[in-house]
Amino acid sequence: MTSITNMERDSTNAFGVLVIGTGAIAELHIAALRASTRTQLVGLVDTDQARAAAASHANGGVRATTDLAEALTWPEVDGCIVCTPNVSHATIAAAVAAAGKHLLLEKPLATTTADATAVRYAFATAGRTLAIAHTHRVYDYSLAVKAALDSGAVGEPTLIRAALLGGWIWGDWHAWVLDPHRSGGHALHNGVHLLDLVCWWMGATPESVYARGRRQTAAELSIYDYLEMVLRFPGDRVAHCELSRAHRPGSLVQRDILVVGTGGVLTLPWDGEQSLVFDERGVSALLPAGGSAFERQLDGWLDAIAGGPVIAGGEDGLAAVAMAEAAELSMATGQPVSLTPVEVGT
């Protein structure tokens, strides 16, 4: 298919970004692009022609196509943001690397450690920047926790508890997330957020993963909508990650952090940030206004392309995939799974 529409590139010479995949998460990335003075959305790719056309229409008629190879030849494309189903990440990332473009890749980096390793190698070889959208690293709460821990206020963390709980958001049985062959399972799809986060906070590499999963919303699910993942670090340090799309009521939004260190305790309780609204529909949370994590993430990617440190790069993405893959194995076997240094990419 050829391009649906075309739009002249802005004369400011902003960094041209091609967004690949136009689902819900792409809208957040596009909003960040729109807010940035450093970037310009120069094209869209979606395998579904109607969706590509709709996304183009919603974004001022920006050029859109169903043909990735064609889009990667557009000269105004400096970098890509990939927002496609997880199983396609490795193949698309390889094409982006081969085209010599920089990449901000939605998590997970890939659905297998082998594929993640290959993607990381491809970008290292191509000399292009690979950033993984471990977006929780740039939320206000995680930055505050990281700063507090790095200040040494609570000493060395020995226990981290991190819970992200919510209700069902995945549509119906047709949702690709529910297909483990397309999403890799919940540990890969969303679990990588917390796995990455606790390692970043802990400042260490785990030795093993023990995980328990539950198909709470329906016994017939092929993935676990509720996860507990326990990482063991050298020196008897532990991180417990809890992730849910299974909680009821579906309006429940809880983020809860507890860190016990050798010199103190850090808490970010579920009601620490949010206000409560009591109205005719009952009680609901009112989350605080704050900086956009997607804008921070975009800036971080651009800074990394310019030579700065990457917020979460290929090594972090590979480590998260290895942990998540081990978590899925642990849930299948009921046993803890060792992580080798090779697996986590150190």
Binding site: E228, V238, H240, S244, L258, T262, V265, W270
Partner: protein, 327 residues
């Protein structure tokens, strides 16, 4: 009906003396009990036992067998030093006394099982945290189906400061946390995976019947500012159910009075040890089984025994496997 009580033992794990710190004042203030004597069961307890006898103006004994044969008290509050706890409980139970037993009831599961066989009267183990008003209300709400079918519990039971237990905080505090989770959901534990989390904490991942899971962090941190040593810094439970979520923060004080130099935080309306004695009194006077009876001592001991095995081996331990081995 007033029940006469013999205070037996003034020790515990390490330097602990819950008899002096917790049970004695609660018995002395409770209208349903009257302390009629004290017994030292270990040389290290002598001074504290004598002080208690003087404080209460009751006879002091240093020979347990003699006290049991001469003091006509139907009840004994046993808080003997750890090295002699099992033999003291053995003697008191064989003497047919009703017992309030300090935690841990015994040091090991086999010891617990052996002593359980000797109980003929009422035995109440001092798992008093389940009597916190927030916990009892939560347990009632769960039984009433307020959150539907519970499928997961997350629990934190973390004490700040105080004297570290030389026998380990898992043995020291583990029974409290495991008991509260049991009070909340009442679903037997079938599997345990435990791991240390720093010097004083343990993470317990428990598998219950019906596919229910729970995770408990239990232990002690260093001292924290604005918290008296030995107080709970984290004491909370989140229960997820098929139709709702119940969050209990039992460390949250109901009343806080802050001045220029002090902060006083307290729960209302009464303390959990007094509520434990209410349960003890009701169980003894009515003959009904206690909710923290000998079976509860066994259930918590099974979990903690499996936790120790799991820590040693690094893998989950099935309680069913343990039962088969024991059988």
């Amino acid at each position: 009906m007033t029940l006469d009580v013999l205070l037996v033992g003034f020790g515990g794990l390490g330097a602990q003396d819950h008899q002096s710190a917790m049970y004695l004042p609660a018995f002395a203030a409770h209208p349903g009990f009257r302390v009629v004597g004290v017994v030292a069961t270990h040389p290290g307890e002598t001074e504290r036992a004598r002080q208690a006898a003087t404080q209460l103006s009751v006879p002091y004994h240093d020979d347990l067998d003699h006290a049991l044969s001469t003091v006509e008290a139907p009840m004994a509050s046993v808080a003997a030093s750890a090295p002699v706890r099992a033999e003291v409980l053995d003697a008191v139970l064989r003497a047919g006394r009703h017992v309030l037993a300090d935690k841990p009831f015994a040091m090991t599961l086999p010891e617990t099982l052996r002593l359980a066989e000797l109980a003929v009267g009422t035995v109440v183990v001092a798992h008093h945290h389940r009597f916190h008003p927030m916990i009892t209300a939560a347990a009632s709400a769960v039984r009433a189906g307020r959150i539907g079918l519970p499928w997961n519990v997350q629990a934190d039971f973390v004490v700040a400061g105080g004297t570290p237990c030389q026998d380990g905080e898992l043995l020291n505090f583990g029974c409290y946390a495991v008991d509260v989770v049991d009070a909340l959901i009442g679903i037997p534990v079938r599997g345990v995976h435990a791991m240390p989390a720093g010097a004083g904490l343990t993470l317990l991942a428990l598998d219950h019947d019906h596919g229910v899971t729970s995770t408990i962090v239990v232990g002690r941190t260093g001292e924290l500012v604005n918290l008296p040593p030995g107080r709970l810094t984290q004491h909370r439970y989140r229960l997820s159910g098929s139709h709702g979520v119940l969050s209990v923060d039992a460390a949250k004080p109901a009343l806080t009075v802050t001045t220029q130099s002090t902060q006083d935080r307290r729960w209302l309306p009464t303390d959990t040890v007094t509520l434990l004695l209410d349960e003890l009194h009701a169980a003894v006077t009515t003959g009904r089984p206690s909710v923290v009876g000998i079976d509860q001592a066994v259930r918590t001991a099974e979990v903690l025994d499996a936790a120790r095995q799991s820590i040693a081996t690094g893998v989950p331990v099935s309680l069913a496997d343990n039962e088969r081995k024991a059988g």
